[in-house]
Amino acid sequence: MHFVLTTEQQMLVQSARDYCTQYGASKIIREQMSGVGDYLRNNWDKMCQELGWQGILVPESCSGLELGIVELVLILEQIGSCLLPVPVMSTLGQYGMAIARLGDAQQQHAWLPDVAAGTTCGTLVWHPATKSEPNRWDTAVINATYCSTKTGFCLNGEYQYVLDGGQADNVVALARDVDSGELSAFVISLPCIGVDCVVQPMLDPTLNIYRMTLSEVMVPLSARLTFSSEEGIEALLLLSALYQTADQLGGIGKLLDTSVAYAQQREQFGRPISAFQAIQHKAADMLVQHETAITAVYAAACRADEYLAGAISLPRLKQAVSIAQATASEAYQHVASEAIQLHGAVGVTWEFDLHWYFKRAKISALLYGDSAYHYDYLAQTALTASDDIEGDIS
């Protein structure tokens, strides 16, 4: 047990911070009022050249660095603090991770070296365009289908919220066997006949997401990741939620710093507003939210590495991710709304950056199951465990 960053991890954070501050989203969006997609590939190439992070999750056997989820989470935190549009979560965390976990040796060697070289961008395609239970967030909602053909498989499905889909060279798409319902993951190289991908504009334009339709998409046998399984895929979704919490954590930290700096410098009634107790207590609560989120997200990251090493079960990972997701989502929303209040009227202007974070906080709180969903899951876990509790409080 050593639940703080190692020296190497601190160095990683520092270089990530320097990089992200330099290229943050606010600048880009202000240069051109379009989405951030156009910038994505440029950012990626630059980042691969300057920092070489593209290999962090790729196994050494495929020319990667084989570091852990903790390292990815630390990088994503910095990216989140500047809302930097760069396909780290999608390419490394989702696409690369899917192949590393579910692909056989041949498949890994076919696709992962290109990830490690920074030449392929990819993403995970899973979120159904229509859900029977809107707030539900697990593999059960996946409703795209596949069936076997003579030479491979035929895929059909409508997806949305595909992260960085418009810039992907390859995607991993999740679908169920049309007869048996068995869940599998397929690698599709783009462009591909039958795949349609369009921008999905959202309230938060710094989020680069797409709708994707697969109609009669034909893929070879080798496209199905050999070790696809319900559990393996569930783990990928949990990891995606975890990445998202790291992004949230970065936003929370940034908002806290910005708010404190503003409160120290803005004067009213002849003194900085930070001298007022009402402001101090708001700021203190923001710090509590930040610290709480740090613990929850880093703990989940450690649990993820333990899970990938085979040390803990999937439900244990899910618990940790649910805690992180519910906590970081609530913290981000709280801190974003208090940050605006603390800034007064400039807080609601387009010119100040706060609104990007405010919007990101809301979307990220709803995208991966809201806190109500995760708290209910945690309650269910606690209730199931309560059968053999001794001692009576009544």
Partner: protein
């Protein structure tokens, strides 16, 4: 960054479990879950015997250095002890103030005389200590202390006159440490001394104060010329404030962890009660259960984060600054939920003299958690000013 304990530490966990399994039985079994805040008066003689058993078997002075008779356990090992102790529902530790607060202060700042005179009886679980800081006009504003200490050069004794209040467990204690003014003309943090007093003397009167739960766990302590030896001052006259603050610093360390670990038992019982009363089927109750499950996990992991950081950072980290506010507020919420899951039936009392139910005690006594050891408001002041560098208020 790692959350999991090493194999060697896990082996130590087994040792602890085996010991507790073999010894927390027989006459001690009835102490299970007893003696926590709101119930501190319960089974005092039996709990003293238990402290002494722990001492004989080498389970006291866990953090103390070997040359003072301690176990010099690593941080990890101490955490594991408190965690396992709480898991079996070990009783509230009567000796905590002496072992966890007084002893480390004396070891760091005391003289060989202090070590020889006071440490052995603390280590043996024989001497119980209480804390004489608060006074009628010195609560949050502790520096407003009025109790006077005068040195009698003829008898070579200190004489203390004044009133202490809210002194927990003074009526069961053998010694008290007292913050008093050595310089009559001084104000605030200057001119204070830190004294060690034997409570068994005619010039000290202890008057229990009945609390809202009906029990009396704290007291008024009247010092009417109470005496101690010339050497029973820690630090020089005038340095009392810094000694007092050093002592409070240990409150943030590993030693209070035992109390917080115990919250998990209360939670588990609460969940079982919610299951039995069927209130667990209500979404609003489930949300509150899920939220507490998350918060308990975060509290535990935050403690580990804070403790992991202690080794490297001399100054209090932000994680340490928010910890008290976090656990106190969490515990208060837990107390509310404990009665809510039982419904109005849970508020019945069999007769006026019978003890309250654990849920009722929890509900009432957790109100104190956000008051003692720095109220929530004072915590927020400290967080804003020390954690975020905001200006001091006057």
């Amino acid at each position: 960054m790692k959350l999991a304990f090493s194999a060697a530490d896990e082996a130590f966990r087994d040792t602890i479990q085996q010991w507790l399994g073999a010894h927390f039985v027989g006459p001690y079994a009835e102490l299970r879950y007893r003696g926590y805040p709101g119930d501190e008066d319960a089974f005092v003689p039996q709990r003293k015997a238990w402290e002494q058993l722990l001492a004989r078997e080498g389970w006291t002075g866990l953090s103390w250095p070997k040359h003072h008779g301690g176990q010099a356990l690593t941080l990890e090992q101490q955490v594991l002890f408190y965690e396992e102790y709480a898991r079996v529902g070990g009783p509230g530790r009567l000796g905590h103030i002496g072992e966890g607060l007084v002893a480390p202060t004396l070891i760091d700042l005391g003289t060989p005389y202090h070590h020889e005179r006071y440490l052995p009886s603390i280590l043996a679980g024989q001497a119980l200590w209480c804390q004489g800081y608060s006074e009628p006009n010195a609560g949050s504003d502790l520096a407003n202390i009025q109790t006077k200490a005068e040195f009698d050069p003829v008898r070579q004794r200190w004489r203390l006159t004044g009133q202490k209040v809210w002194t927990s467990l003074a009526h069961h204690s053998d010694y008290i440490f007292v913050l008093a003014r050595t310089d009559r003309h001084s104000t605030r943090h200057q001119g204070l001394g830190f004294f060690l007093l034997d409570l068994d003397q005619p010039n000290i009167h202890i008057q229990p104060i009945k609390q809202m739960a009906g029990t009396a766990e704290f007291n008024e302590v009247f010092l009417d010329g109470a005496e101690c030896n010339a050497a029973d001052i820690v630090g020089e006259p005038g340095q009392g404030w810094s000694v007092a603050m050093a002592l409070l610093g240990y409150e943030r360390g590993v030693s209070t962890l035992g109390q917080q670990m115990q919250f998990s038992n209360e939670f588990a019982q609460l969940v079982a009660a919610a299951q039995a009363s069927k209130r667990a089927e209500e979404p609003v109750i489930r949300q509150r259960i899920g939220r507490l499950a998350a918060q308990l996990d975060i509290m535990r992991n935050s403690a580990l984060r804070m403790l992991s950081g202690l080794a490297n950072h001399a100054e209090l980290s932000r994680a340490a600054l928010v910890f008290k506010l976090y656990w106190a507020t969490l515990h208060r919420d837990l107390g509310e939920l404990a009665v809510d899951v039982l419904g109005v039936d849970g508020l019945q009392v069999p007769s006026q003299d019978e003890p309250l139910s654990p849920a009722q005690r929890l509900f009432l006594f957790t109100r104190a958690d956000t008051i003692y050891a720095g109220t929530n408001e004072i915590q927020r002041n400290i967080i804003a000013q020390r954690g975020l560098g905001m200006p001091k208020m006057r």
